[in-house]
Symmetry: C2
Subunit: 221 residues, 2 copies
DNA sequence: ATCAGAAAGTAGCAAAAAGATACTAACTAA
DNA sequence: TTAGTTAGTATCTTTTTGCTACTTTCTGAT
C-alpha cells in the first residue's frame, strides 16, 4: 500500500474520541459533554479532538484528556478505530477511540470551548435506556464497557480506578462494578494478595472495624 | 470534537495494513510482499491499501485481503491503529492494522500491482532475527503476534487456522504454535471437548492409528 | 500372520485454583 | 456495655489443571 501514489486517494479527517471512566457512588461513570452545535446540538457526546498533522494518536489523546480534565499522566489506552462512512452526517471522519481511567478523587472536568457543559454519566443507565447519544458514540461506549469488563479479569486495569493507596473493600467494589457481579471477599483477597503490599495506614472514623490501606507492588504485573 | 470546524485541521491519508496469518509446516507464517518502489524498495512489507473516502475500514480490509489472496469470507479483525508522525518518510499516513487468519489449505496469494512478489514468512524467525522490514511493520507484526498468543487462550481464534473439519492432533498443534509451548494431550481434549462435535470421518493411510475429524459446534462460543 | 513402531485416544491420580460458608475482630453510636 | 456494621480470616468443597501411564489401531517390515 504505502508504495501507492497516495494522491489518488482523498484524504480524510481523523479524530480521537475520549472515554474517561471513573467510579462515583459505586457506579461506573463516563465523562460526556453536551454539544453546543449541530449536528446533534444539545445532545450528549464523547469529548474529542481532531488529530493534528504533526501529532501522534497518543499525543492527540493526551491533549484531549488534558483539555477536558486538566489531568496529565493518567492511564489511557487505545480502544478501537471506528470508520463507518456516515458516522458523521457532515463529512467523513474516522475516529480512534481512547479509553482513560481515573480515580474519582482525582477527577476534574469542565465544559470545553464548543460544548455547553461536561458531566459524569452513569454508564449502565445510559446503555440500558434508549437515550439518544450523538454520532455512533453509544456503540463506542458499549464497546468500551465490554472491553473494561474483559480486561479486569486478566489485567490489573482496575487499579487505575483507585488511588495509589487503597483499601481492599474499595478495590473489591471496583472489581464488582466492572464485572457486574458480586465477589466473595475471601477469594478476592487470595487472588490479589500477591499483587499488593501493606501500608502502615488504616481507615478511621467509621462505625465499624477499620480497613488497611494497600498499594500495588512495583515488582510484578 | 466533532463540533469543531474541521477545516482548520489538515486531513491525512489513512491506510489499512494487513496481517494474513496461516500455519504451514508447523510454523506460524505471515503473508508479506516485496516492495518494488522506494521508500524501502526490495524490502519486505505488509500488504495494504489506502482507505477510500466512501469505504469503511472493514471494507478496505476486505478489499485488500481479496486483492492479495483472492479470498473472500475469511476471518479478520481490527488489530490496532498506528499513528506515529514519521512512520512513512514521505508523508503522514496513519495505518489501521487488520489481522486475518486462514488455514493453509485455503491460502493463496500473488504479487500485487506495485510489488515484486508475495511470500509466506516465518514469523518467529523474522521477529527473533534482526532482519529489516519496511516502515514500522516489524513492530506491527510483533504486536499482532502478541495478540494472537493472548487470544488463543480465551477465544476460539485458533479454529480459523484449521479447516472446517479437523483432527484434534492438528488443532492441538495450532494451539501449541500460537502459545509457543507444548500442551498435554489429555488436558487439551478435556478443554475443547465442549466446543466441538464428532464427524463420521477419520484419517487413513498413515502408519498409525487414524484420528477422527471434528467440527466446531454451532451452538456455543 | 505376526510383530515392531508410531501416533491416537483414554483412565485416573495429584496438585492447584476457584467457589462457598462461617466464623472472629475492631470500630462507633446509643 | 451492647447492638450494629463492616473488616478480615479459617476452612471446607468443588472444579480445573498438570501429569503419567496406559490401551488402541493403524502401516510396513519381517
Amino acid at each position: 500500500m504505502e508504495g501507492y501514489d497516495s494522491s489518488q486517494y482523498e484524504k480524510l479527517s481523523l479524530a480521537v474520541d475520549l472515554l474517561v471512566f471513573t467510579i462515583e457512588d459505586d457506579r461506573l461513570k463516563l465523562l460526556m459533554v453536551e454539544r453546543s452545535e449541530d449536528p446533534f446540538a444539545k445532545m450528549s457526546a464523547l469529548p474529542g479532538v481532531f488529530v493534528g498533522i504533526k501529532e501522534t494518536l497518543d499525543e492527540a489523546a493526551e491533549r484531549g484528556i488534558e483539555e477536558e480534565t486538566g489531568l496529565k499522566d493518567i492511564y489511557f489506552e487505545q480502544l478501537y478505530t471506528f470508520g463507518e462512512v456516515d458516522r458523521d452526517p457532515r463529512m467523513r471522519i474516522v475516529s480512534v477511540a481512547y479509553m482513560a481511567l481515573v480515580p474519582i478523587e482525582k477527577m476534574n472536568y469542565h465544559a470545553g470551548e464548543r460544548t455547553l457543559s461536561a458531566r459524569l454519566v452513569d454508564v449502565e443507565d445510559l446503555l440500558s435506556s434508549d437515550t439518544k447519544v450523538a454520532f455512533d458514540h453509544k456503540r463506542i461506549i458499549a464497546y468500551a464497557r465490554q472491553r473494561l469488563a474483559n480486561k479486569v479479569e486478566y489485567t490489573g486495569i482496575a487499579f487505575h480506578l483507585v488511588e495509589e493507596e487503597f483499601t481492599l473493600p474499595k478495590l473489591q467494589k471496583v472489581y464488582e462494578i466492572l464485572l457486574g457481579k458480586p465477589l466473595y471477599k475471601a477469594n478476592f483477597r487470595k487472588k490479589i494478595a500477591p499483587l499488593i503490599e501493606e501500608t502502615d495506614f488504616i481507615t478511621s472514623g467509621e462505625a465499624h472495624r477499620p480497613s488497611r490501606f494497600y498499594r500495588l507492588k512495583k515488582t510484578e504485573e
